[in-house]
Symmetry: C2
Subunit: 382 residues, 2 copies
C-alpha cells in the first residue's frame, strides 16, 4: 500500500463525492432528468464564472474551446494580439496561425506578465487589431496576468478580450462581468476538481455581436448552434454525460463554500507555499506568481529530474517539472482542485525531505514552521 498525492496543475485530485458521481449508471441526455441536471449546471457555471452571460459546455479538452474562440471571433487574415510568455500563450499563437489569422505576439519573458501599457503600445502600433488573447494563469511558468487591468484597457480601446482561464478558474479571482471580460475559456480538470474531458466558454454580448457578423467556418465549435441549444439547456451533440453529472457535484461544493472563500483559500495556500519555499532557500520562478500553481527554481547543484522522481517514486508526491526551456529547472506545485491547507504541510514536508536526502543544505522544519505560522496567523484553524 502506497498512497499517491497529485500536485500537478491539471489533472487535480477528485473529491470522493465526484468519484461517486462518475460511477453512477449512465442516463440518456434527451430526458427531463438530464435537462434538469444541465440547467442546474449552467446556473452553477454562471456563478463560478461570475457572469450572467451564457457559458457553453463542450465535450473536449480546454484547447478545443480555445480553437472555438479563435474561429468564431476572428476572420481569416485578421490581425489579433496574443500575449506569449509560456506554453499556453504560444498555444493562442499556434491556433491563430493554424487558421490563417495574423498573430501579433506580445512576447514577454517567461515568468513575467505584461503590463497594460505594453499591450496598449502594441494596440496603437496595430490599430486593426480587434481581439486580444490572454492567459489568466500561464501554467508553464506559474505566472498570473492582471486580467482586470487588461480588461479595462480592452474596454477603453473597444477591443474584445479573450482569456484562457483553463488553469485558473475556480482557483484564482476572476470577475467576468465586473471586470468586463468578453470571453473566458475553462477546462474541467483544474479548479473544477473533475477529470479532463469538458471545456467551457462564456461570451459577452459585445463578443457575440462579432460572432454574428462573422462568416464562421465551424461545426463542432459553432457558437451559434451552441447558443441555440444552450437556451434550451441542451447541447448540439451528445454531451459527456458522466462528467456533466459529476460537474453538478463540483459546482455545488464551490457554491456551498462561496467563490470568494474558495479564492481566498487557494490564495493563502499559494502564499504559504511561496513563503515556505523561500524559507528553504529556494527561489520562486515567477515575478507575478499565480495562485493556482507555484513554480519554484530547482537550486543549483540539484538535478531537477532526480528531485521530481524522488518525490514521485519514493514519497508518492507528484508535482510537475518544467516544460520546454524550463525542463529540469523548475518544479511546479499546484494548489487547486480538491486540496486544502493540510496538503500544503504534506507537499512542503515532502519537498524539504527530498532536498535533504539529495544533500541540499537546509534547516529542517523551517518550511513547515512557516506554513504553520501563516495558517495560524490567518485563523485557518480557529
Amino acid at each position: 500500500m502506497k498512497k499517491k498525492y497529485l500536485f500537478t496543475p491539471g489533472p487535480t485530485p477528485l473529491p470522493p463525492q465526484i468519484q461517486e458521481a462518475l460511477s453512477r449508471p449512465i442516463i440518456h441526455h434527451r430526458t427531463t432528468e438530464y435537462q434538469e441536471i444541465f440547467s442546474e449546471v449552467n446556473e452553477g457555471l454562471r456563478y463560478l464564472f461570475q457572469t450572467e452571460n451564457p457559458v457553453f459546455t463542450f465535450a473536449s479538452s480546454g484547447t478545443g474551446a480555445m480553437e472555438g474562440a479563435v474561429v468564431n471571433l476572428t476572420r481569416e487574415g485578421e490581425k489579433a494580439l496574443a500575449i506569449v510568455g509560456g506554453k499556453f500563450g504560444e498555444r493562442w499563437q499556434e491556433i491563430l496561425e493554424a487558421f490563417g489569422r495574423e498573430c501579433i505576439p506580445l512576447e514577454v519573458e517567461w515568468g513575467t506578465a505584461p503590463s497594460a501599457e505594453e499591450v496598449e503600445k502594441l494596440l496603437t502600433e496595430h490599430p486593426e487589431i480587434e481581439v486580444i488573447f490572454a492567459t489568466l494563469c500561464e501554467t508553464s511558468t506559474g505566472t498570473k496576468t492582471d486580467i482586470e487591468a487588461l480588461s479595462s484597457l480592452a474596454r477603453r480601446k473597444n477591443k474584445i478580450l479573450v482569456v484562457d482561464a483553463i488553469s485558473g478558474l475556480g482557483a484564482m479571482e476572476l470577475r467576468t462581468d465586473e471586470w468586463g471580460i468578453d470571453v473566458v475559456v475553462a477546462g474541467s480538470q483544474k479548479g473544477m476538481m473533475l477529470p479532463p474531458g469538458l471545456a467551457f466558454l462564456s461570451i459577452s454580448e459585445r463578443a457575440w455581436n462579432k460572432v454574428m457578423d462573422n462568416q464562421v467556418k465551424a461545426y463542432y465549435w459553432d457558437f451559434k448552434k451552441m447558443r441555440k441549444s444552450y437556451e434550451k439547456n441542451d447541447t448540439p451533440f451528445t454531451p459527456a454525460v458522466s462528467l456533466v453529472v459529476a460537474l453538478r457535484e463540483s459546482l455545488s461544493l464551490i457554491k456551498e463554500e462561496g467563490i470568494e472563500n474558495v479564492w481566498k483559500r487557494y490564495s493563502l495556500m499559494a502564499y504559504a507555499t511561496r513563503e515556505a519555499c523561500q524559507e528553504l532557500g529556494l527561489e520562486i520562478f515567477s515575478r507575478s506568481p499565480a495562485e493556482a500553481v507555484t513554480a519554484v527554481k530547482v537550486p543549483s547543484g540539484i538535478d531537477g529530474g532526480n528531485l521530481f522522481r524522488l518525490m514521485k517514486d519514493k514519497l508518492g508526491i507528484q508535482a510537475a517539472g518544467g516544460q520546454a526551456q524550463l525542463k529540469g529547472k523548475i518544479l511546479r506545485i499546484a494548489h487547486m482542485g480538491y486540496m486544502d491547507y493540510m496538503d500544503i504541510f504534506l507537499v512542503i514536508s515532502g519537498l524539504e525531505t527530498a532536498l535533504s536526502i539529495m544533500g541540499y543544505p537546509l534547516e529542517k522544519g523551517k518550511g513547515i514552521s512557516k506554513v504553520a505560522e501563516i495558517f495560524v496567523k490567518e485563523g485557518v484553524f480557529s
Copy 2:
C-alpha cells in the same frame, strides 16, 4: 425503488467494471502509468477496429472525429459524395458544407440503404469525387449499409471511403483491413459500453497520403499532430483520463469474449427482437435492418409518444422515439453496449405489456415465446 433499463442507441448501459473504473482516483497523463494504459488501449482499439492502422482517440463527441475526417481528408471546394438516408448521413452533408466542400448527396429513402450500383452511378457522373462518406448504422432509422460492398467499389474506383461507425462499431460486423475501409469513425457511448466523451478514428495509408498532401487548416483535429503523438502512445492535448482508463476495461471485456462472438451475440439479439416484434403484429421500419438498433413502426391507432412515455415512466424501460419526420412514428430499441440475451426478454415483455395496456390487440406471450424459441434453437442457453 424503481429500476431503470436503458435501451437507447447511445448512451448504452455500463458494465459494473466500467462504473468502478470511472470512479478511480485520477492519474496524470504524462506518466509511465498512463502511457502503459494508453498503449494497451491502442492495441485493444486496433483489435476492435480490426485494423493494423493507427486509431486516434479524441476527447470529444463522435461528431468531432467526423469533422476531423472532413477537414483533413478534403480540400475547400472539393466535391465529395455523402450517402444521406437519415440524421447521421445528413450530418456528413452538413459538415462538408460548413467547411465549404461541395457535397454531392446520394439521397436514399429513409429506412433503406444504397446499393453499390447507385453509388457507382454517381461516381461516374462526378469523376472528380475523391472521397465517399457513408454510415455503417444509420441510427435514426435502424438501417445498415453494406460497407463491404461499398469498400470494394471504392478500391476499384480508387476512392477513399470514410465510414461513420459511431453507432455500429463493436455491435456490428466491421472488418476494416479485410474489407479495405480507409477511415472508420467511432464513439465511446455505443458498442464500447462507456459514457460519451471519446471519439475514435482509424486511418489507412492510402487516406494518410491524402492528408499529407492536403493543406489542412486544423488544430484540435490536426491528424498530423495526432499521429506524431499516437506513435508515442500519447495525445497532443490533455486526454479524458477517466474515460480512457475505463476504456481499457471495456476493450478487455471485448477481447475476452472475442469480437466475432460479440458480433454474433448482438446479431442474434437483433434478430430475436425483429422476429418478436413481427409476432406482435408490428412492422420493422428498415428494409436493411441494423444489428445495433431495431426501429419498429408504431402501429396505427397507437400514439407513439404515449407508448414511449408509458414504457419509460411506468415500466422503467427507456427506448428511443423517432427523430425529424419519424417523430411519433417509430420506436427504436437498441441492443448494444452492456446487454445480453435476457435483456431482450425484458424489452419485448415491456413492449408487449405497454401495447396491451394501450388497447392494441395482440396475443399475449407470443413475442416472448418467439425470443425463447430463437435463443434455445441457437444454443444460447446450452
